[in-house]
């Protein structure tokens, strides 16, 4: 039972490291800062390119808006309920704005343009009209417009916009109202299939991706929805990014708790059945607890905060450290009275150390995917695994010095004996050259089926109910803004407006050819100074010099003093300088995005669907100052890049581990050790392709896990000189716990998570079955 000095020193060092980790970890617990912004998981959050800024600003404009439509058979009760719900939601700090009447729905201030004058601001329609109508036709048109309106016109309107051209220009400042109208009670109403629905518009105070916003706004909305649904004959429709994030979070919570509970129950049952000791069960969780504590401390120290998702997934990966415990327990259980801590400890040390090294290398390769969230997961997992390892190697020799009171139960013994024979048989089957040829043939035949899928939408699983409601809002309120947009760059605002004007001129005809439904460009709010000058010349020629305006005023019977005053107001109209107006335009959500970065200024041209993306992208390409931005395609390209990178890293990891293992095992031995997870990975990929699943970055990540865990199996088989009973017990239990932990994710409703789980399930089971291949002949 004596341990060598070196081994004892190692054990004490581990113990010391474990105690230090616990002391520092516990002391630092109060300093932990958690970040729950889901967007922080994705790359590019720290970049500040113009495209990133534009994406972020656009997202924050769109993602915070929530729209509700409420119908009831009792209009009087509807008014009361809307007032009550408005008050309730306004009380929640999670909402910045809540509106159900016209003023509330308007939300932000109406865009105001100091110095607006009809001579400067002409829509394309009015430029065309001024150029093509005769003076007499223009006068007739103006008089008819003024005199046929019930209620007539005001003196102020006649003074500021005599032809109605300015109102037409400002019309483009408004989004399409669709069928919205005011009810008797002043509520905004929409007619859907003959039924009246009251429209409410809410604006979240913060991003819907923030978990506290999801929680507080979710509670407030839930209460409000209950109140509205209690109305007689109630029908409630809602739309907004908030509901998608809420549904996604809810699904994730549900799946994590289902999988987590299933996994925990399975693992507890396994431990009690095999080791028959509650004490050992509790002790098994100590390395995991120390691992999580160490992982949290290192991530906090390294990154300054811990992402909540890194905590969840990192903890799951640290949970793989249960394998160290399983090997220790299995060895002790199998040895029974022959348990000799010194020699058995030494036998465990080499494969566990090599297993730790390879797992840490595997996890740290996650950092190369480029996802900041994965970097934290990798660091937390690696630090956690090291801490779990030192706990097992430092603490267990003290607590498990004595042999186990129980041996292997008879049924388990029989099962293991049967398993050993089957396991060897499977390995023998794969050792045959014919098997190699069949495997090769399978790869050659199946490889042409290779299809990759880098679509970000496989990470989404939007409920059909939400999509259906979204469609109602889309058709009724005209919310058809495309994800794609055009980003323009310039040295200053005047140049920016000129460039927007040039692109606008190219886009406008596309609305007739069907390439583009409609679009909003900055010059629809403020024309460039050159355009203002051209407008003024046209106005002067066709409205003032032609005598149209004066003739209209005289025909209306305007007195001479007022005519003189109005004609004077048409002289020497100063141009509107863009700088001040555009700097202030950021406060108006409806105005196309304008922003400054370093010494450049940028603006976005927003597009409405349907649109021909290929045509528009090629149209924009020749302009050096214009950029076609397709966020979905860009994200998909990013995922494709990560898939390529991860595939390369996987190959590199195999190579690196192979080189590392050449030392102790020689080239052939190293190949034997890495072959099982490699073959398991190839068969997994082939299996997925055969059933028609396209390969994504998530499958490659799963194969990294297969390498990290699978190599542990082969190392133990190699070190124990074959599949001994204790090794079979340990790696068998490890396979079951891994399948329970990760394989159950295959049941997820989200495609990406399900594919990850399926690949882990297949890969780990195959790696287990093929582990005896590592055995030295």
């Amino acid at each position: 039972m004596s341990m060598g000095r070196a081994v004892r020193s190692f054990q004490y060092a581990c113990l010391l490291l474990m105690l230090t980790t616990i002391v520092f970890g516990v002391a630092g617990l109060h300093r932990l800062q958690f970040n729950n912004d889901l967007l922080a998981l994705f790359p590019g959050q720290t970049e500040q390119s113009a495209e990133v800024i534009a994406n972020r600003k656009r997202a924050s404009q769109i993602e915070r808006e929530i729209l509700l439509l409420v119908h009831t058979s009792d209009q009087a009760q509807l008014q009361v309920a809307i007032a009550s719900v408005t008050a309730r939601l306004t009380d929640c700090a999670c909402f910045a704005k809540v509106g159900a009447d016209a003023a509330g729905l308007a939300g932000e201030q109406t865009f105001s343009l100091p110095g607006a004058h009809p001579a400067l601001l002409l829509s394309a329609k009015w430029r065309d009209r001024l150029q093509n109508l005769s003076a007499e036709q223009l006068k007739e048109h103006t008089l008819r417009r003024l005199l046929m309106r019930p209620g007539g016109f005001s003196a102020a309107e006649l003074h500021t916009d005599p032809l109605g051209s300015l109102a037409d220009f400002k019309d483009s400042w408004q989004s399409d109202l669709g069928s919205v109208r005011l009810s008797d009670a002043g509520l905004a109403m929409v007619d859907i299939g003959g039924a009246d629905y009251a429209l409410m518009r809410l604006t979240l105070a913060d991003s819907p991706y923030r978990l506290e916003v999801q929680q507080t706004a979710g509670q407030a909305l839930s209460q409000a929805f209950n109140e509205l649904r209690a109305l007689p004959g109630a029908d409630l429709l809602y739309a907004g990014a908030f509901f998608y994030t809420q549904a996604g979070a809810e699904q994730a919570r549900s799946e994590i708790s289902t999988v987590g509970l299933g996994s925990l129950i399975g693992i507890v049952c396994l431990f009690l059945l095999v080791f028959r000791s509650v004490g050992l069960l509790l002790l098994a969780f100590v390395p995991i607890a120390v691992g999580v504590l160490a992982g949290l401390s290192v991530v906090q120290w390294w990154f300054g905060q811990v992402h909540i998702i890194a905590l969840v997934f990192g903890s799951a990966l640290v949970g793989v450290a249960i394998d160290y415990t399983l090997h220790f327990y299995a060895k002790r259980l199998d040895a029974q009275q022959h348990w000799q801590l010194g020699s058995d400890y030494r036998r465990l040390l080499a494969p566990l150390s090599l297993g730790l090294l390879t797992s840490v290398a595997g996890y740290l390769s996650f950092t190369a995917t480029g996802f900041p969230g994965f970097t934290q997961i990798a660091v937390m997992s690696s630090a956690g695994l090291v801490a779990a390892f030192v706990t097992v190697m430092g603490l267990y020799p003290i607590l498990l010095r004595k042999p186990s009171r129980h041996g292997l139960s008879r049924p388990l013994l029989n099962l293991l004996n049967w398993g050993q024979r089957r396991h060897q048989a499977v390995a023998e089957l794969f050792r045959r050259r014919l098997s190699g040829l069949i495997l090769l043939l399978m790869v050659v035949l199946i490889w042409p089926l290779w299809q990759s899928n880098d679509d970000i939408r496989q990470m989404q699983n939007a409920p059909q109910e939400l999509l259906d409601m979204e469609e109602v809002f889309r058709t009724q309120l005209g919310g058809r803004r495309a994800m794609q947009y055009i980003l323009l760059e310039a040295d200053d605002y005047p140049q920016l407006l000129n460039r927007v004007q040039a692109v606008d001129a190219a886009l406008a005809p596309l609305q007739q050819t069907g390439h583009l439904a409609s679009f909003a460009a900055l010059n629809h709010w403020l024309p460039s100074v050159q355009q203002q000058r051209a407008n003024q010349l046209l106005w002067q020629e066709r409205v003032i010099d032609s005598g149209v305006l004066e003739s209209v005023l005289i025909s209306l019977g305007v007195n001479s003093k007022a005519v003189a005053s109005m004609m004077a107001s048409q002289q020497e109209v100063p141009f509107i300088e863009p700088d001040a107006v555009l700097v202030a335009s950021g406060q108006y959500a409806a105005v196309p995005l304008v922003f400054q970065r370093d010494d450049k200024v940028y603006s976005v041209i927003t597009l409405n669907t349907p649109l021909d993306t290929h045509y528009l992208a090629s149209l924009v390409a020749p302009w050096p100052y214009a950029q076609w931005v397709d966020p979905v395609a860009r994200t998909n390209q990013l995922l494709q890049k990560y898939r390529h990178n991860a595939s390369g890293l996987l190959a590199l990891a195999y190579g690196l581990i192979g080189v590392l293992l050449c030392g102790p095992y020689g080239v052939l031995g190293a190949l034997r050790v890495i072959a099982p997870p490699a073959i398991a990975s190839v068969i997994t990929l082939c299996g997925l392709l055969v059933v028609g699943i396209d390969i994504s970055v998530f499958h490659i990540m799963a194969l990294m896990l297969v390498l990290g865990i699978g190599i542990d199996y082969t190392l133990f088989v190699r070190e124990s000189g074959g599949v001994s009973r204790s090794t079979l017990l340990a790696i068998g239990l490890s396979t079951v716990t891994t399948v329970l932990s990760f394989g159950l994710l295959a049941l997820s409703g989200t495609q990406a998570i399900a594919h990850f789980g399926l690949a882990v399930l297949l890969g780990i089971v195959l790696a287990f079955l093929l582990a005896p291949l590592a055995q030295h002949k």
């Binding site: 808006e65 016209a102 003023a103 209620g151 005001s154 003196a155 005011l182 009670a185 305007v558």
Partner: protein
């Protein structure tokens, strides 16, 4: 987004109606009006509303006079109107330009030289707002009107006539309309006068056809 602000604008831009008032175009002094807040006042208003509602359907002639300080003479337009019991309204302007407005189930359509156009709050807020209010005045939809106006009654009324004044209850509406004075007799609306914050005002007079009550 500010697109829905137009819903309010539709009322803001019920432009340039001036209160010609029922008394020699000078408008009653504020001292002559009181808020219709007592139970008796509410009863009186409901009685007037019931009379108006019972008179439906109605049709006849209408004439609009627009008085503006900048004009030498008021602008005059005239035509016919036809209001059904279900609220559908036909408003036909014949002079100086012929144009037909039809409001069916809350949708406003304009026919001009054979071409039909839907009037929306966004496209033509002033026309949209005009019909929103006029439609409510013909049968005195108090609940709808009280959402935007404070309803007042005169301290004293002539025997057969009734009067009421509507004062905008929000600043944005008040920037376009100072007051609307409505006069009628029994189940008939006779005059609607709208006064702007300046001295300009609009008066619309209604004359009912003898055969209106079908």
């Amino acid at each position: 987004m500010k697109w829905l602000s137009v819903c309010l604008l539709c009322l803001l831009c019920v432009n340039a109606w001036a209160d010609a008032s029922s008394s020699a175009d000078n408008g009653p002094a504020d001292g002559k009006w009181r808020n219709a807040s007592s139970a008796d006042d509410q009863k009186h208003l409901q009685s007037v509303a019931a009379q108006l509602a019972n008179s439906l359907p109605v049709h006849g002639q209408m004439q609009q006079h627009k008085y503006m300080a900048i004009l030498n003479e008021p602008l005059v337009s005239s035509g016919t109107f036809d209001l059904k019991t279900n609220g559908d309204l036909t408003w036909s302007v014949q002079e100086p330009f012929a144009v037909l407005y039809r409001i069916v189930d809350g949708t406003i359509m304009r026919t001009l030289e054979g071409e039909q156009t839907e009037i929306t709050a966004r496209k033509e807020p002033s026309v949209y707002g005009f019909f929103q209010i006029v439609g409510k005045l013909f049968d005195l939809q108090l609940k709808g009107l009280e959402s935007f106006f404070t309803v007042q009654l005169p301290h004293s009324e002539l025997d057969a006539q009734w009067q009421l004044r509507l004062l905008p209850n929000n600043k944005r509406l008040a920037s376009a309309i100072a007051a609307i004075v409505v006069t009628g007799e029994q189940g008939r609306l006779h005059n609607v006068t709208v006064q702007e914050p300046n001295a300009d005002y609009t008066r619309i007079q209604f004359q009912y056809a003898a055969q209106a009550e079908e």
